[in-house]
């Protein structure tokens, strides 16, 4: 005997052969099964009641419950079908390529918007109040590795015509002239291009004295407020120069948004 209590010799005999009891229960038994039909009738009559069962109070609490309107037709079934369709699509090669491309594009876009990377084809994100650039105590702009991928962090000579032609300082400088450089350095023959403060209002947090204003031809980076700023000519062309605020002491205030040549300093400024 096996675990079913039935000899294994008996089990293969039936397989998928027609069940005589099903023929009787269907209501139209063959002639040779009349005795079996009698047995079925006797058992059904003896045990199955002809009238509904008397319902107790616990059961009536369910069957007498008020009707509940259907808010939405079979949402779980709809969700299952939608989930099955999406899962089926995602399982295909095309689905994987589409989904993977979308995820990659969203990731790159997010990183570009957060100034973590610079995707050339994407437009620059405008910033209303770009933070000022910072400089080393010796006047050299402090590089921003987060926004200056692949660039030389030290100020370098700007080649002719290699300035940032695709953008310009959004606002004319206010307050004291900057110590930075002219972001649109197309006309500059040479020299370093320190970062430019393109903030629309207010002086930079560490506003230099007027004597430290950036000339139209900026020259080398200026020293921070703690140091004695060199004399400089007042700006003549708001669009040709920017303000270079002194170096802040808080590294978190470094600007990521200064208009700079691609070769040096933080990322291009935001208009």
């Amino acid at each position: 005997m096996d675990r079913d209590g039935v000899s294994t010799e008996d089990m293969p005999t039936f397989g998928r052969s027609p069940d005589p009891l099903d023929a009787v229960l269907s209501g139209d038994p063959p002639e040779d099964l009349r005795d079996l039909a009698t047995i079925v009738d006797d058992m059904t009559t003896a045990y199955v009641p002809s009238s509904p069962v008397a319902r107790h109070r616990d059961l009536l609490q369910f069957t007498n419950a008020p009707a509940v309107p259907v808010a939405a037709p079979a949402p779980t079934a709809r969700r299952r079908r939608a989930a099955a369709v999406v899962a089926g699509f995602a399982a295909t090669l095309i689905g994987k390529i589409v989904i993977g491309s979308a995820v990659a594009a969203a990731t790159l876009g997010g990183l570009h918007a957060a100034d973590k990377i610079d995707v050339p084809l994407l437009p620059e994100v405008s910033r209303d109040d770009p933070a000022p650039s910072i400089e080393e105590p010796d006047g050299q702009p402090i590089p921003d590795p987060a926004s200056d991928q692949g660039r030389d962090h030290q100020p370098t000579t700007v080649p002719d015509g290699s300035g940032p032609p695709d953008h310009a300082p959004a606002e004319p400088p206010t307050g004291s002239p900057p110590e930075g450089t002219n972001p649109t350095a197309d006309s500059r023959p040479d020299a370093t291009v320190p970062p430019v403060d393109t903030r629309p209002d207010g002086p930079p947090p560490f506003a230099p004295t007027p004597s430290s204003s950036v000339p139209s031809d900026p020259g080398p980076p200026q020293s921070p407020p703690t140091a004695e700023p060199p004399a400089a000519e007042p700006p003549t062309d708001p669009a040709s120069h920017g303000e270079s605020p002194p170096a802040p002491t808080d590294p978190a205030s470094r600007s990521d948004n200064w208009d700079m040549s691609p070769e040096i300093g933080p990322r291009s400024g935001r208009s």
């Binding site: 039935v6 039936f14 058992m43 199955v48 069957t63 419950a65």
Partner: protein
């Protein structure tokens, strides 16, 4: 057993799972008569009370059920079978407990119930020639109206085993019917 179309059953199931009384009522009507018959055939002391208990359990757990009409019947009769087994064990420890089924007490029977009771005695005498497992297979197949697959699921056996048990049982019953109990 009463049979519904798949669509009608799904509507009842959805309504019951929403807490709609009409859904519960429909599912109860689908199984109540066959459920009481099964409990009577299995010798429950209070078939009507036990049937109510099984249907209340069904209503409380309907939110967790997922399946078609066949699976629903198998599920309900599995609950009923387990309740009967529990009751038998409880009764075995209390042999003096009186049965509650009115048709089993001669002084309380009505005339139809007398006829029904007599017929039941004849059937029980016929079923006494079967083993317990064969008897249970025949009760589930004929009285409860379950299919071979549903019966196999309720009893926890393979389909082939149910067919073999049923075959032996029908052969024995046909002999008993001819020769007498």
């Amino acid at each position: 057993m009463d049979e519904l179309t798949d669509h009608a059953f799904n509507q009842l199931l959805d309504a019951a799972q929403r807490g709609d009384g009409s859904g519960y009522d429909g599912l109860v009507r689908l199984i109540e008569r066959r459920l009481v018959g099964f409990l009577r055939a299995r010798g429950a002391h209070d078939p009507d009370g036990l049937a109510n208990d099984v249907m209340v359990r069904m209503c409380r757990s309907i939110g967790t059920f997922s399946g078609n009409q066949t699976q629903f019947r198998a599920w309900v009769f599995t609950i009923a079978r387990n309740r009967v087994i529990d009751e038998h064990r409880w009764r075995s420890r209390r042999p003096d407990a009186e049965p509650v089924d009115p048709t089993s007490m001669p002084e309380t029977r009505t005339e139809p119930e007398v006829s029904e009771h007599d017929q039941r005695e004849r059937v029980e005498a016929m079923l006494a020639s079967l083993t317990d497992v064969q008897r249970e297979v025949m009760i589930l197949r004929i009285v409860a109206g379950l299919s071979v697959d549903e019966t196999a699921e309720v009893m926890g056996k393979r389909r082939g085993a149910i067919r073999a048990l049923q075959h032996r049982a029908t052969q024995q019953l046909r002999v008993t019917l001819v020769d007498g109990p």
